[in-house]
Symmetry: C2
Subunit: 301 residues, 2 copies
Amino acid sequence: MSIVVVGSVALDSITTAAGTRPQLLGGSATYFTLAARRFTNVRLVAAVGQDIPKKVLSSLRHPDVDLTGLAVLPGQTFRWEGRYSDDFTSRTTTGLFLGVFETFQPHIPPAHRKCSTLFLANIDPRLQGLVMSQVQRPRLIGVDTIDHWIRNQRDVLLKLLKHIDVMFLNEEEARLLSQASSLKAMGAWLRKLGPSIVIIKQGWYGAAGWIGSSMVWVPAYPVDNTVDPTGAGDAFAGGVLGTLDRARRVDASTLRQAMLCGSVVGSFCVEAFGVSGLERLTPARFAKRLGGLKQIAGVRG
Amino acid sequence: MSIVVVGSVALDSITTAAGTRPQLLGGSATYFTLAARRFTNVRLVAAVGQDIPKKVLSSLRHPDVDLTGLAVLPGQTFRWEGRYSDDFTSRTTTGLFLGVFETFQPHIPPAHRKCSTLFLANIDPRLQGLVMSQVQRPRLIGVDTIDHWIRNQRDVLLKLLKHIDVMFLNEEEARLLSQASSLKAMGAWLRKLGPSIVIIKQGWYGAAGWIGSSMVWVPAYPVDNTVDPTGAGDAFAGGVLGTLDRARRVDASTLRQAMLCGSVVGSFCVEAFGVSGLERLTPARFAKRLGGLKQIAGVRG
């Protein structure tokens, strides 16, 4: 069992009510990897520039993370600079420098072409399609996207979704793509595009998922204090797909379990700047929160 | 077992994406009553003007609703005119005429002064206090309020809350009152004010409740199409307190059951203009949705 994830590894500068932190390790593939590795082996495919500080990259070095596919290219690392409103309801991108990411063409190392799960983290859907053409059909293919691609690469995205098993997107993106007004209508519309599982992320409210004829709803784990929500959606996806990758079969019950795990992993993510929240996650802390979340949700087991 | 509810009975003119409807029966006590009567007997205390059309008022006439406390006073009925944004995320009050409500002094008929549950629907907290002084201590006292009173009668409200068992408010109101940023901190802060149960309503996401050392979270029942969300919060409160009024004891498990019932009742409310959605509720339809919601939430039983 292993997940190949393709996406971005970045240097983030983040400002929230809790302060400003420059030069943090970030990127969609980074957060996904550091969450999913708690459940299964992860093989990361991305590109960074030669300018990336070694110390920053060390956060990705773990026995359960394979970095063979992380290319270090001449040039600069993708940088993102953002600021959150004090109540975390909105964020503004104050700086964006693509660097080596501008010409990034994902190349899946031969040893990675056979995997049980593939996650296409948020990148250009044309590149997501390129990745799919390089691998043997995995048991599960997950995808995440953002409003930018929904607006600018809608047709490519719709074509891609025909081959996807698990689609992640947030509520505004689901509304933008489906033009539906109710959550139920969004879920139904999105599933018609191809994915057998659709998961709409709703931030601190939780997430709604659909599989077969079932809808599954899980709350977000209630944290004392949000410090930095960056990457929480990717960490959630990592928890979900990490759990599903190890599940013998995928049904409403395993999807609920996976979403509960994703919710717990996401809660660690938001409690500190960058990936440091995910680094605080231990098996004991995870189990305690998972039990607590099940009690809150009234879920047995 | 019976609930006395004190609040407003109004004539609403409502515009949503689905159209405009003038002269609808509305008001906080109305929605609460028509929801709670599905679970227990309700005694309504409110005032309307002599101008209220008999036909409009007929929606309140049911064997399980006692209208002894509904005063018909010389003057005009409280009128509210509002418009919702197409996605229902905001609403604007376009007209407000207090009429007899301006000088409303709730008078609890002697026969109503002994009840098992009292619900103080959204009115001036000074009047809510006046009501409490007229009744024998019920087993449960519930209260709802809005941002207007939090801003303008904060001290009166805080004093009142010391005697309250179940407090309902929406998330923005909870934030305004507590100045806390996380849901968990809001719940903890509000419970320190007095209420042993705090319920934060989160619209189409669901609701979070606290009792003893437990937090309880239930999703909103996902409807196909929202037509008019007016009164959904009061209908939810009616479902919750209607269920709790009949429960032998109130603990986390009964609170969850009550909130699930409130969520289902609220879902009927939003599906049609005014109270007509609540009128479509039958025991069979209710049971079907309650079962469906439990499956979505993964709750046993």
